[in-house]
């Protein structure tokens, strides 16, 4: 339960301002969120929720509007995303979800950063070589938006681990590289009855899809067909393609968490970034 005086405290600390379109609004600066959370002894997210309930926009989210309404921003803060993989796709996804104000992000990866990650993985840097990806992700999330609760799982997940990570989550996000663990994640999301937003990259070819519970995963189909090497083993994973897919997955995740219908349910967005050709493909 939020402290009873939180609404009044938020009203007192809010300041007048304008949205980018010139419309007047009331805003709660980051410093006020932090101060109120400490004074009231509650999580910063509760302060932001109370602000949104009173029609006050935490200033950090002001440029999210009017892409989202205040009500949708509140829904994002109340939501939980389970992010499997904190490498190339996962780093870009974490950045987007944390900045958007997704209230709880559970992130799992058992890997540590190495030099081959530096070409594309947002969370990797020279000083983080050898550092667990989950540890680095937690640092990044806290540095960007401490109102978000980031629950780090520093380990690779087996099928039971995926089920546990997805328990109570609103959406599962596939940021895995390679094929090995993807079928278990599709199965776990199906068992939990939550949508799975998935993506994969090979060179400048990319795919993004949303798998509703019970539906087949186009990425699983794409990844499992054929008997030759996966294309990314030949073509690599260049940064622009990885970042693009992470951003497109984040669009879909945020749309779902805001309470909107997914744009890619039963469909896959297939991108050839070499020619900038895009297709939306129906999978059944």
């Amino acid at each position: 339960m939020p402290p009873p005086d939180i609404a009044q405290a938020v009203r007192d600390a809010a300041v007048d301002g304008t949205y980018p379109d010139g419309g007047a609004g009331r805003f709660l600066p980051v410093a006020a969120v932090d101060t109120l959370a400490r004074e009231l002894g509650c999580p910063a997210r509760e302060v932001e929720r109370a602000a949104l309930a009173a029609g006050t926009c935490p200033l950090r989210y002001a440029r999210n509007l009017r892409a989202f309404s205040l009500e949708e921003q509140a829904r994002l803060l109340d939501s939980t995303a389970a992010l499997i993989g904190l490498g190339g796709l996962g780093g870009g996804l974490l950045e987007n979800l944390v900045r958007a104000g997704v209230g709880t992000v559970r992130g799992a990866d058992g890997d540590v950063f190495d030099e081959t990650n530096l070409n594309r993985q947002l969370l990797s840097e020279i000083a983080a070589l050898g550092v667990p990806k989950a540890v680095q992700a937690a640092k990044r999330a806290a540095a960007v938006n401490p109102s978000v609760t980031f629950v780090a799982h520093n380990g690779f997940l087996d099928a039971d681990g995926m089920l546990a990570l997805l328990d109570g989550a609103d959406v599962a996000v596939d940021a895995l590289g390679g094929l090995r663990d993807r079928p278990a994640l599709v199965a776990a999301a199906r068992t939990r009855g939550i949508p799975l937003v998935t993506g994969a990259v090979a060179g400048y070819t990319a795919i993004v899809a949303t798998v509703l519970p019970g539906a087949c995963s186009p990425v699983e189909m794409l990844a499992s067909g054929g008997a030759g090497p996966s294309a990314e083993e030949v073509l690599g994973c260049p940064s622009p393609a990885v970042m693009a897919v992470a951003a497109l997955q984040a669009c879909e995740v945020i749309r779902l968490l805001a309470g909107r219908p997914p744009a890619l349910a039963g469909k896959a967005l297939l991108l050839d970034l070499e020619t900038m050709h895009a297709d939306t493909v129906a999978f059944s």
Binding site: L222, G228, S230, L235, A282
Partner: protein
């Protein structure tokens, strides 16, 4: 008949220069793949006019076929 062909990722080099492929009437998706020199094991998914198809699917004039290799990077 003539169809339009797109080959993604590692298969990109197999596309004819003008992206068009001439095939006998009643040709199948597999015939098109063979004409392009695409080994079955190199292809994960084939799309005909944006929807997944099998190799024995019969083609129609001006179909667009997309050949996609296994993709799972991240």
């Amino acid at each position: 008949m003539n169809i339009t062909v797109r080959c993604l990722a590692t298969l990109a080099g197999q596309v004819p220069p003008d992206g068009r492929l001439a095939l006998p009437d009643r040709a199948t998706v597999g015939d098109a793949a063979d004409a392009l020199g695409l080994a079955p094991e190199a292809v994960a998914v084939i799309l005909r006019n944006g929807g997944p198809v099998e190799r024995d699917t019969r083609l129609s004039p001006d179909d667009t076929l997309s050949f996609i290799p296994p993709i799972s990077g991240g």
